[in-house]
Amino acid sequence: MSSYKVGDGMQQIKMAVDISTFGLAASRAIALKPGTGDPLKAVAHSENASGDIPQQGIGPAIALAEYTITVMTKIDLLGDDAARKRASTQVSARYIFDDGAEGHKEFSDPIIEISDDCRTVILYKDIELKS
C-alpha cells in the first residue's frame, strides 16, 4: 500500500486529487483507522463533474497519523460504444499530498475497474498516513 509520512506536528496536511478523463467524474475521500471500530471521517469531495478535489487541508498531522485515506472516483463515460471504449483507456489520476514530514508527494497508481459495457470506470486508492 502507498504511504505518506505526515509527522507528528500540528500543521494541516494538504491533499488534492487530479482526475484526467473526458467522462463525468465524481470523487470522494474518507479517512479510516484500520483495525479499530472507529467510524469513518469524510475528508473531502469533488465540487463538480471534473472529479478533481482542489487542494485543501484535511486535518492536523498528529490527528491523521495511522489513518488510511481512501479516495474513490466514479466515472461515467459518454458517447457510443467506440467512444466509451477509447475513453476508458485514457483515464488517469494523481493524488497529491503536501506539508507532511515527507513534503510534496504524488501517487498515480489507483486500482482501475472498468465495467463490462465500458460505461463506468471506478478509480480506487488507499494511502496510509504514517507519523
Binding site: 487530479d18 482526475i19 484526467s20 478523463t21 473526458f22 467522462g23 463525468l24 467524474a25 465524481a26 470523487s27 470522494r28 474518507i30 479510516l32 484500520p34 469513518l40 469531495h45 469533488s46 465540487e47 463538480n48 463533474a49 471534473s50 472529479g51 478533481d52 482542489p54 488510511t68 481512501t70 474513490m72 466514479k74 461515467d76 459518454l78 458517447g79 457510443d80 467506440a82 467512444a83 477509447r86 485514457q90 488517469s92 494523481r94 486500482i111 475497474e113 472498468i114 465495467s115 463490462d116 460505461r119 463506468t120 470506470v121 471506478i122 480506487y124 488507499d126
Partner: protein, 386 residues
C-alpha cells in the same frame, strides 16, 4: 398472413422505385465534409483502413507496410487518426469535452462555467493518410503508380444557443450530486474490507452496478451533446501525389470540402430538442490531373459543386427542398437540380426517402423518386470517436 407480407412488399416496392434514381448525378450528401477525405480522394473502401488509436499503432502500421513491400515505398496502407487522442494531458475534463468554457472564481476559488467554447472542435482535427500502389491514371497502360495522400478534417466553429451551456452545466451538476450519493453508499464497505481480493471483488460489483438515477442523467447529457448547433462550419481537404516512374512525383488529385449548417430549435425546454428549422450549405472542389473525359482523352479537370438544403426536421420526419449546382472546368454543368424531399426514419438505420422537383439533366426536367435507405445510420453531431 396478408399483414405479415405487407412490410416485405412495401420494401420491395420502394427498392424497385429507387432504382429509377438518376445515376451519375451528384447527390447533396456527397458534398458534405467527409470524415476521412483521403479515402474519398483515392477511392479506398473504409473496410481497408486502420484507425491508429496510439502513436505506437501508427508507427507499427507504417513499419509493417514498409517491411512487407520489400522496397522504399510501403505496400498499401491507409489510416486515420486524431493526434489529440494520442497525448494524455494531465487535466482533461468533461467540460472541455462537451465544449464548455470554465474559469476559476477568484473569491471562492471554485471553477465555474462561463459559456461555450465555440472553437472546441478544432482540437479533434483528424488526419487521414494513405500509401497505395494503384493504377490511378486511366490510360492504356495497366501500370500501378506509387500514391501518397494526406488529408484533414475539422470543425472550425460550433455554436449552440446560450441556453446550451446553462442546461449542460445544470445536468453535469445534477449528475455530480447523484454520483456523490452513490459513492457515499459504497465507499465505506469497500474501504473497510482488509482482504485485497475481496476488496477488488466489491469494486468490480460496484463498477457494474447500473444505478437508474445517474444512468438517466447520463442519457440526458448524451442527448444534449447530440443537440444540433445553431451554427457550425466544417472543412476538409486532401492531396494525393503520384509517383510516376522511379523519381518523378506529380500532383494527382486534390480536393476541398466545406459545410455551413444552421439548426434553429423549434422547441424550448430543459431537455435536448429534436425539432429544427435546418439550413445547410455545402461546397466541394475536386481536381484530377488524369481525368478521362467523355471522348476518352486523359486531361486535367476540376469540378466545383455547391448545394444547399432548407427544411424542417422532427424526430422521425424531415422535409424541405434542396438545390445543387455543378461547375465543370469553370462551366456550368448539367447536373443541376432543385427538388423537394421528404425523409421518414423507420429506425436508426432505415429511412424512406421521397423527392420531387426539377432536374436540369433529365429530358422532361422532372424528378420523382421514392426509395429506401438502409445502413446509413441516424445523422448525428456527436463527439468524435477517433
Amino acid at each position: 398472413m396478408r399483414y405479415s407480407i405487407l412490410p416485405l412488399l412495401l420494401i420491395l416496392f420502394c427498392i424497385n422505385l429507387s432504382a429509377q434514381s438518376l445515376d451519375g448525378t451528384v447527390k447533396l450528401k456527397e458534398l458534405a465534409v467527409p470524415n476521412a477525405p483521403v479515402f474519398i480522394l483515392t477511392d479506398i473502401a473504409p473496410t481497408l483502413t486502420q484507425t491508429s488509436n496510439t502513436p505506437k499503432e501508427f508507427v507499427l502500421g507504417v513499419a509493417q507496410s514498409f517491411q512487407s513491400s520489400g522496397n522504399s515505398f510501403p505496400q498499401n496502407y491507409s489510416t486515420e487518426f486524431t493526434p489529440y487522442w494520442w497525448v494524455k494531458p494531465k487535466s482533461r475534463d468533461v467540460y472541455s469535452f462537451v465544449g464548455l468554457k470554465t474559469m476559476t472564481d477568484v473569491r471562492t476559488g471554485k471553477s465555474m462555467v462561463v459559456g461555450e467554447n465555440i472553437f472546441s472542435g478544432l482540437k479533434f482535427t483528424s488526419f487521414s493518410l494513405a500509401f497505395l500502389n494503384k493504377d490511378m491514371i486511366p490510360d492504356s497502360a495497366a501500370t500501378s503508380q506509387k500514391i501518397f495522400a494526406l488529408g484533414l478534417k475539422t470543425t472550425v466553429i460550433k455554436v449552440h444557443l446560450r441556453s446550451y451551456s446553462e442546461k449542460m452545466d445544470k445536468l453535469l451538476n445534477k449528475w455530480h450530486d447523484a454520483a456523490q450519493e452513490e459513492l457515499n453508499d459504497g465507499i465505506e464497505a469497500i474501504a473497510k474490507e482488509p482482504d485485497l481480493v475481496k476488496k477488488k471483488q466489491l469494486l468490480r460489483e460496484f463498477t457494474n452496478l447500473r444505478p437508474k438515477r445517474t444512468d438517466d442523467i447520463v442519457q440526458e447529457i448524451n442527448d444534449m451533446i447530440n443537440e444540433k448547433p445553431i451554427f457550425s462550419w466544417d472543412v476538409a481537404a486532401a492531396y494525393a501525389t503520384y509517383g510516376i516512374g522511379d523519381s518523378s512525383w506529380q500532383t494527382g488529385r486534390k480536393g476541398a470540402w466545406t459545410t455551413l449548417a444552421s439548426y434553429i430549435p423549434l422547441s424550448k425546454g430543459e431537455t435536448a430538442t429534436k425539432s429544427y428549422l435546418a439550413v445547410n450549405i455545402a461546397g466541394r472542389y475536386l481536381y484530377d490531373s488524369y481525368y478521362k473525359n467523355e471522348l476518352g482523352i486523359v486531361e486535367k479537370a476540376n469540378s466545383v459543386d455547391f448545394g444547399g438544403r432548407a427544411g424542417l426536421e422532427f424526430d422521425r420526419i424531415s422535409f424541405g427542398c434542396e438545390s445543387l449546382y455543378r461547375y465543370y472546368n469553370g462551366k456550368s454543368g448539367s447536373a443541376n437540380r432543385t427538388v423537394g424531399y421528404i425523409n421518414y426514419r423507420i429506425s436508426d438505420n432505415l429511412y424512406i426517402n421521397g423527392a420531387f422537383g426539377k432536374s436540369f439533366e433529365s429530358t422532361n426536367k422532372l424528378v420523382a423518386l421514392f426509395g429506401i435507405n438502409w445502413g446509413f445510420g441516424r445523422e448525428s453531431v456527436g463527439l468524435p470517436t477517433n
